[in-house]
Symmetry: C2
Subunit: 363 residues, 2 copies
């Protein structure tokens, strides 16, 4: 089992990574949590495939436990679901000494994490991500939240877990689309991190797509190491951490325009290609790099399909993104591998053109 | 204008205290907040008496502003009200650069503060308390939250304001019952802080009850200085800060049993007298002090009236208090002025007896 420390100033915590390690969950809970009661929020799909193992783990915990099986869709990432969790906690008489354990993907983690952030003004939280996207993305950073008024993650809180346990064997039962999502987010890291990661990503893409465990484990470790370093230096996303949003301004709008029929990680790939085109048209992007980046994006052709995308509509959704609400849209753009520019403004025409060129790749 | 610094490790902030100082709100906002948009949550009663002045202040702010007039009852300290605030923020396209300003009592501050803690994972928050209870109690500590499932403040977050502005002239339009509430909480400080504050409180009680401004200002300052020192050393209520809960385990249950027909500060006085009796029956309380404490409590006779209180019901509500959910009820008890004992257990019979004796004082 590998251990990576996320060294936040206030709430440092370890991320454990390994294959078939979820049976050590109780041991880690006893090590890292003060909480004597446990409340599990478990993704229903994960419960379908791994329910027997999870139930065994829960039963073996010496103190009080409870669970909530959660159908983790964007639609269910709502106050209503949160409401159910609060009610279960209250009716089960869970106290301040509770730890909430999320077993599932990003949606499950976000809503369980928000419940942990706000139940009794905050109880302990443990994350057991089960999708590649959650492994490499939501396991580091402490972002929690839910959707409201049609806007993704508009209500939320920063709440760091006591620890994260990533068992890569959960990925063996992962839906192909979900794997693509994770790889889409990993594509982003291959652009914003190091040449070494970029090389590894391009070289191993086929193995990764086939779910080859050792490559995936390496990808997860590298991504987490990189993201930790970024988040450690900017816990509340006031500066550097924005580099993690490469492609995301476009991606959120594409997801909305596609009525959430494509997945976040897929939209991120489409968003990244739009930001490549915008970087190019603003003269920011290293021309030698452009082809390299587009080749990496093209690895996803055939795995991502936008349904009759409309550039104007996407643009309008960008204007209502929570990051852009008080005025101009600001972009995170790319100059070179690991060289990211923040808070760039661009004229409407250039933005629209880059959306048009970007969506064409996956139309 | 007096300034007291609340020196928290992460988010230190000043509390300004004075008479007729609210017209300096914009100046202080510009000084302390980065937020360029302001969203005001204003108690409807305060708006009734001071709406003209508040509107003038809002109009004079150079950037975008909006407001929500809030009927601040315990019933309205709900997710539904929070929902309205979130909707107003979303529909008004408020961004991350928003500051939420609460003008009102504790309920208004708690719900506006929670909105600030969670809108876009946290925006700036400013508190302008307008009741004596909020002045001396909720202005320090960063507790925010709302009621859910019939349980007070069960959902919440710690979110420190950028600054607090206490204008004692708001107290001139305060309902008498509200003044009693503040004095009830001040009674607690007179027990847990210093002999000097206790002496001042007893000596000046009549002036305070008549709303005499200079005495009230001194009471607010002393209470805030004391509470700041406590909160500074224990921001998240893991230890020392529990002394602030003297009487509160009883008080929350009394409020619930009285169906919230009495006010929090009044219930605190009734709760304190119960904890005096419990401290005495456990042999904790200095007998010389007992009479002195009861004399102070008796100052409130005539101002607090419980309606057919039922000790058994109160006991049952104590068992469901959020602090006691996972087992034993733990009490904060008193030995002497400034000498408070934490996490004391007591047998059911002794607790019931102390409730009976306590409620008799105000029956």
């Amino acid at each position: 089992m590998k251990k990576i420390n996320v060294n936040l100033s206030q709430n440092p915590y370890p991320v454990y990574i390994g294959s078939n390690i979820v049976d050590q969950l109780n041991k880690k809970i006893i090590k890292h949590c003060k909480g004597s009661s446990l409340f599990f929020v478990i993704d229903s799909r994960v419960n379908h495939y791994h329910g027997k193992l999870i139930t065994k783990i829960i039963k073996e915990f010496p103190n009080k436990t409870g669970k909530f099986i959660f159908n983790s869709t964007e639609k269910n990432k709502s106050y209503e679901s949160l409401n159910h969790i609060y009610e279960k906690l209250i009716n089960g008489k869970y106290g301040r000494d509770t730890a909430i354990i999320a077993i599932g993907g990003g949606i499950t983690g976000d809503i369980a994490g928000f419940a942990a952030a706000t139940y009794m003004r905050g109880v302990e939280y443990v994350q057991v991500p089960t999708t590649l996207l959650a492994d490499i993305d939501s396991s580091v950073g402490g972002k929690t939240g839910f959707n409201f008024g049609g806007i993704k993650n508009i209500i939320g809180a920063f709440h760091q877990p006591k620890f994260v346990l990533i068992d890569t064997s959960f990925l063996t039962t992962l839906d192909k689309n979900e794997l693509i999502c994770g790889l889409g987010e990993a594509l982003k890291y291959s652009f914003i991190a190091t040449e070494a990661l970029a090389k590894f990503f391009n070289l191993k893409f086929k193995s990764l797509l086939q779910g080859e465990q050792s490559s995936i484990a390496k990808l997860i470790e590298e991504s987490i190491e990189f993201k930790s370093a970024v988040v450690e230096s900017d816990e509340k996303e006031s500066g550097l951490r924005k580099i993690l949003n490469l492609g995301h301004t476009f991606a959120h709008a594409i997801e909305a325009e596609q009525k959430n029929l494509i997945k976040h990680g897929q939209a991120v790939v489409a968003g990244i290609v739009c930001s490549i085109f915008l970087s190019q048209s603003l003269g920011i992007l290293n021309p030698r790099k452009e082809k390299e980046f587009l080749n990496a994006v093209n690895l996803f052709k055939g795995s991502i399909k936008l349904k009759s995308p409309n550039a104007d509509k996407i643009y309008r959704f960008m204007q209502t993104d929570k990051k852009n609400r008080s005025g101009d849209i600001k972009f995170v753009l790319i100059q070179d591998t690991g060289k990211i520019l923040l808070d760039i403004s661009a004229g409407k025409k250039l933005v629209l053109d880059s959306i048009k060129k970007g969506i064409e790749v996956f139309a």
